[in-house]
């Protein structure tokens, strides 16, 4: 089977032509046959139409409204008149607050592709236009690294305005908004779901990853953020994108599981660096450069347990709620701790001032004691002075006494 479906047979092209007209009928009545066609790859020259058709029907099923031809108005929150969505031309005329960041990334998107290789080329200009227009159009997402790759894929198949409209539908209705918005809240959820699926499908590999400290976010972040297009050869990226538009985010899980499955023997042999190397862009790119079909077939044979996937989502959300609850408690304790610290400090101040007062009193006390002691000394010396004086007086009296009386007094 050709990578790009260029030599697709007439019969297959006829089938695809029919799919484009009666997609919903195919989905209802011939889902297996449709899946076979998708896994085999949409013929390159039909991709523009098929992708738009898939997205249109998907959007209709997701929102219940047809989005054909017009930009859906519900995403526009530009603070002006929300009733009428700005046209693509109007968006292009406005300035984006993400302009600098977008410009930094434009030259770093598909740099090997001839369409986007030149800094002055038309490719980079239209890429910039679409990404900028989107950053104004969707002010919840704005600009997120990863979006240019999707836009690049689209621009390789359709004119810029159509690429923009398809991007709007894809981000809104294929669950990418949660990945791209500033909190990127859905990324850890998707990674957790992937981890759960991998643990079930390849427990030995995951045990090995645990030993090595390898976690899914280290290799799968860009699988989700660019739908593999920053990792895989272009022709394979297109085929994965075919599948994504047909199946939604499940396609990413399928391909991810297929990659780990096809590499498991090598992964089990490697240390940390070896594992990161095997799952790096350079290695995957080389591995699947002429071998994309085998990956698509492996993805097809992946049995995706939807119940497990949903349970993983519920578990993740429950764990997150619990974590948030814990965080709230931690915050409460923290603020209580702050209060107590403040109270402690004021008590400490009180103690300090009391200590000072005590010190003053103690000094006074000492002073008084000293004065008391010196008074006592003075008193004692005064007393002894008195007795010396008395003795002297007695002596004088004695001397003055009559002679016989003195002899009588002095006899032993």
């Amino acid at each position: 089977m050709a990578e790009d479906g260029l030599d697709a047979s007439h019969a297959i092209i006829d089938q695809w032509a029919d799919v484009c007209v009666h997609l919903e009928t195919w989905q209802k009545k011939r889902p297996k046959q449709l899946a076979n066609l998708v896994y085999a790859g949409v013929p390159e020259h039909l991709r523009c139409i098929v992708w738009q058709k898939f997205a249109e029907v998907h959007a209709k099923q997701a929102t219940g409204v047809s989005t054909e031809g017009a930009i859906p108005a519900d995403l526009v929150q530009d603070g002006t008149d929300t009733g009428t969505a700005p046209s693509y031309a109007e968006l292009l005329a406005r300035d984006s607050s993400f302009d600098k960041l977008i410009r930094l990334d434009i030259a770093r998107t598909f740099p090997e592709h001839e369409m986007f290789a030149s800094n002055e080329g038309l490719g980079q200009e239209v890429l910039y236009n679409v990404v900028k227009a989107y950053s104004i159009y969707d002010n919840v997402v704005g600009y997120c690294q990863g979006i240019p790759f999707l836009v690049g894929l689209l621009l390789m198949h359709m004119p810029e305005e159509e690429a923009f409209q398809l991007l709007v539908v894809i981000v809104r209705d294929y669950g990418l908004k949660g990945l791209f918005k500033p909190t990127m809240a859905d990324l850890p959820l998707r990674l957790y779901q992937l981890e759960t699926l991998l643990r079930h499908a390849y427990p030995r590999v995951m045990a090995h990853f645990d030993d090595l400290d390898v976690s899914c976010n280290m290799f799968a972040t860009q699988w989700f953020m660019t739908l593999f297009s920053s990792t895989m050869p272009l022709k394979l990226s297109f085929r994965i994108f075919d599948l994504f538009l047909h199946e939604g985010v499940d396609a990413i899980f399928r391909v991810a599981l297929a990659i780990i499955g096809q590499s498991q023997r090598d992964l089990l042999r490697e240390n940390f660096e070896g594992v990161m190397g095997l799952l790096s862009r350079d290695k995957l790119f080389k591995r699947y450069e002429n071998n994309g079909h085998s990956l698509m077939m492996a993805a097809k044979s992946v049995v995706l347990n939807l119940k497990r996937l949903q349970k993983a989502e519920r578990d993740y959300l429950a764990a997150q709620r619990q974590e948030e609850q814990l965080q709230r408690e931690v915050d409460e304790w923290r603020s209580k701790c702050h209060e107590l610290t403040a109270e402690n400090e004021s008590l400490r101040d009180k103690v300090a001032s009391l200590e000072e007062a005590y010190h003053v009193l103690a000094t006074k006390n000492l002073d008084i004691s000293i004065r008391l002691a010196s008074s006592t000394d003075a008193l004692e010396s005064a007393q002894s002075e008195v007795s010396v004086h008395e003795l002297y007086t007695c002596k004088r009296l004695l001397c003055a006494a009559p002679h016989h009386y003195r002899a009588w007094l002095l006899q032993p």
């Binding site: 960041l101 930094l104 990334d105 030259a107 770093r108 998107t109 740099p111 090997e112 997120c144 690294q145 990863g146 240019p148 790759f149 918005k181 500033p182 909190t183 990127m184 990324l187 850890p188 957790y192 645990d210 400290d213 390898v214 976690s215 976010n217 280290m218 290799f219 799968a220 972040t221 860009q222 699988w223 953020m225 660019t226 920053s230 940390f272 660096e273 990161m276 790096s280 862009r281 350079d282 790119f285 764990a319 997150q320 974590e323 931690v330």
Partner: protein
């Protein structure tokens, strides 16, 4: 793999900083000694979303203090909204290269928040190296060397201005960091037995793990 164990230590580095400051180019210049767009491997030129983990065997010209040291370098995404993702990669880093663009003041103004992450999520002995990149674009300079030096002094960082384009000072920045880490090992301030030291030492009985088990979903508390 011949020479796979031809080293005494492995140091884990993480490269952080705003979008477009040249993190991937610095890494590429250090590993390949060139950084023109044509010479870059596709990955080095692509927006880095998943960390690129490169391991460098010690080249004979790159011995640090006579030691053969292998560097395991983690390159990261710079956009603000990827912060939460990047935070889970800090743990166990022995060195952090904090990069800004001397031609874009906003990237310098954000250093404090990057530094907070680095301080909070690594161990106290992690060597943080401040790099003012794009020194070849002197005419467009927006941040003076003096103020950056002062910032570095105030925050106890080692500082150099580099050019990933010409290669000026790039090797010095990577190797100085290694030297500092090695000194910390020598004077005992870096405990190799600690799980978060970011240093793996080759020993007869096997190697000390670079870090403990993977962090939980949110990474930090």
């Amino acid at each position: 793999m011949a020479g796979a164990y031809n080293y005494t230590y492995i140091f884990k580095y993480i490269i952080i900083g705003d979008m477009g400051v040249g993190k991937s180019c610095l890494l590429h210049q250090f590993t390949e000694q060139k950084c023109t767009r044509r010479s870059l491997s596709p990955h080095s030129w692509l927006i880095a979303l998943t960390p690129l983990v490169l391991s460098l065997e010690p080249a004979s010209s790159r011995h640090v203090c006579g030691q053969k040291i292998k560097l395991q370098i983690w390159d990261t995404a710079g956009q603000e909204r990827f912060r939460a993702v990047t935070r889970s990669y800090y743990r166990g880093a022995a060195g952090a290269l904090l990069v800004y663009d001397i031609c874009r003041r906003s990237t310098y103004n954000h250093l404090q928040s990057w530094l907070n992450d680095a301080r909070n999520l690594t161990n106290p002995n992690t060597v943080i190296f401040l790099i003012g990149n794009k020194s070849d674009l002197e005419a467009q300079r927006d941040v003076t060397t003096e103020e950056a030096k002062q910032f570095a002094d105030e925050n106890n960082l080692i500082f150099l201005e580099t050019s990933a384009k010409t290669g000026a000072n790039v090797e010095d920045a990577f190797l100085e960091t290694a030297k500092q880490i090695y000194q910390n090992i020598q004077d005992g301030s870096l405990d190799l037995n600690a799980a978060e030291s970011g240093v793996q030492q080759k020993s007869q009985s096997g190697s000390v793990p670079l870090s403990e088990k993977a962090p939980g979903k949110s990474g930090c508390c």
